[in-house]
């Protein structure tokens, strides 16, 4: 299977490395509108061909799958071009600039008989998969409420680059940096919401100190979202203040609850205690201790088997998507979910902006 990567910024490194971990995959070409960016990726990863002309790359290389890691404003046009040339597309999050573009892309792909996968890779990290498995097994009962929390470090590997560049495309998104990232926690809660369109309440706050006097000071850095869909509710928090930064998921069910920590890749479940009085506390604490020991052994085993990879979720998502393109499995992210996340992002930042305009 030949893949090509369009857009040679930071995240393209991960796409090339993770795709190569899958058997039978060849990274045939990279493409970037800037020749230096295309060349650096090709040279560092020994990719045989690099291009600055997308149409030429598609016609010469005929990739089976095109990974699109360019700014979101370009996703729709590039994806349609790649699909028209016969490729399936894997698109970095956010899928498109807004839900209208998402609809256009998904309809176009459906007409051409091609698959689109959006890079909601956290939803394929082991903790998220294990939580969904717990729900499927019936151990949690029915989901009552789901919480997803994402911390973001503005001085981190990605944050530092973005905050150091006033012209970075992230600042041009209507919701700025959170719009580029909130799809991750949203993608964790959406699978629990069922098919009904949720109601959305969103609040954005700007708690960091204005330092630049330009677009970098403009966007909200703390977002709180409450979703209701049928009998399930979900909370989503995006925060640039919390330290250490975390990605976490909690599911409160009708039988048990589960807390997943994506950093330690551990789960903690909570079930009803049956001991009397204060012994109940001891019983619960003992269960926590036992589960912690079990989780540590599990992670140590994962370490021995090289499963504690940073982009493990991306590899799993790619594996499932590549299989789906060969007709060997279902689409890992149903189109309805990809669209719902797009719609939620529009709704969230629309509400945040409207609230600010009012004040």
């Amino acid at each position: 299977m030949r893949i090509a990567v369009v857009g040679c910024g930071q995240i393209a490194d991960a796409h090339i490395q993770e795709a190569r971990k899958i058997e039978g995959v060849e990274v045939a070409a990279v493409c970037d509108s800037n020749i230096h960016m295309a060349e650096q990726a090709a040279r560092r990863f020994a990719v045989p061909a690099s291009y600055t002309d997308l149409a030429r790359m598609l016609s010469e290389q005929r990739p089976d799958i095109v990974h699109i890691t360019t700014p979101p404003a370009t996703h729709l046009a590039i994806a349609k071009l790649a699909i028209a040339q016969g490729a399936h597309v894997y698109v970095e999050k956010p899928l498109t600039l807004d839900v209208l573009e998402a609809d256009e892309l998904l309809e176009f792909a459906a007409r051409q008989g091609k698959l689109v996968c959006v890079g909601h890779n956290y939803a394929f990290d082991a903790p998220a998969r294990r939580v969904r498995e717990l729900l499927r097994s019936g151990r949690l009962g029915e989901a009552v409420h789901v919480d997803a929390m994402m911390g973001y470090d503005l001085t981190g590997a990605f944050g530092g680059v973005i905050m150091g560049d006033a012209h970075h495309w992230v600042h041009a998104l209507p919701g700025g940096l959170p719009q580029n990232n909130i799809s991750h926690p949203l993608s964790l809660v959406v699978p629990f919401l069922g098919d009904a369109a949720p109601t959305v309440t969103a609040v954005g706050r700007r708690l960091r100190q204005a330092r630049f006097g330009d677009r970098r000071d403009a966007w909200f850095d703390e977002i709180r979202v409450l979703l209701h869909a049928g009998s399930v509710s979900a909370g989503v928090t995006f925060s640039c203040r919390m330290r250490p930064i975390q990605m976490a998921l909690a599911v409160y069910g009708t039988r048990q609850h589960v807390f997943a920590n994506f950093e330690s890749r551990t789960l903690r479940t909570v079930a009803a205690a049956d001991a009397p009085g204060p012994f109940r506390r001891l019983q619960l604490a003992r269960r926590d201790a036992v589960e912690s020991r079990r989780e540590f052994r599990g992670r140590f085993w994962d370490f021995l088997h090289s499963r504690l990879q940073y982009f493990e979720g991306m590899t799993e998502l790619l594996r499932q998507f590549y299989s789906a393109t060969r007709g060997a499995g279902p689409e890992p992210i149903p189109m309805s979910q990809a669209r719902l996340v797009s719609w939620l992002i529009d709704e969230i930042f629309g509400q945040c902006k409207a609230a600010e305009d009012k004040t």
Binding site: C8, M37, R44, G164, D165, R211, G213, R307
Partner: protein, 335 residues
Amino acid sequence: MILVTGGNGFLGQWVVRKLLERTQASIRCLVRPSPAPPAVSGVVAQWPGRKIELHPASLPAPAAALAAALDGVRVVVHIAAGKQGSAPALVANTVVGSEALFQAAVRARVERFVLVGSLGVHDTASLPRGAMVDEDTPLDPHPEWRDPYTFSKHRQETLAREYALNHGLPLVVVRPGVIIGPSAEILVTRVGLRMFGMLLHLGGANRLPFTYVSNCADALVDAATRTSLGSDTFNVVDDDLPTSRQIVRAYRSKVRRVRSIFLPRMALGPVARMNAWANRRTQGQIPIVFSEYDARTIWKNLSFSNERAKSLLGWIPAVPMRAALEATFQSHASD
């Protein structure tokens, strides 16, 4: 008029200070837009009679913004570059950003373009142990095997040379070694790697190509102002270079205790190969700490010549190494 990019940075502030001290040139600093007063303002304030323009722009800037920044400029001292981050981020910052400046400088017909390169770009892998590195040592044919910073500086210098060759950019390249000074990191990669709260000491008896920040700034001012200087390249390291072992000992006695494990030279290759094996075996779960290529390029008892800078630029490292180290350690001790 002299344009300094990166004038807000560690080296840039010293270059502006030296330009003010040693020349009467008008100075313009390209500084990143910020509502906070630029750091270089503190330097400027010490010369109340001199006028310095602060021109807000980030590289890569639009052509019109760079044309305005270069209006009336005869000499450019290009210091701005990414220091940390991934290779794509550094290439975007250092290479893509510089190309816009190279183009603007060609259009503005500047008389001299001084590029601050890096001593790390040389092909030291093919040199024998104990060899001398000078300006005639070729560039590394495999920059992609080096760290992201060296890779980006290599690509930047290569691109600058293409602009010199094909578009007449009047290029002078100054390649500083490791710049030390108050607050600058001194236990650098050439000394060793910090991990698990310890220092994996790799440098041993290797001499460290240090240059004190004010000495380096002097060399850049010399390169910017020396008359009858053609397109040339200068490696800048100070005299009396210390060994890595001396630096670790001095750090312990003057700054703070640091636990270290020394890896002898003979072990570097086998450890690097084991590291590479573990990295492959675990599909990247175990990161590459240092590569075999690093071992072949960095830690091989090289010596570093500064003769060309001394003879053609008339540069003298005014601050002796002993005083330079003292000032650097003192700032670390008071942190």
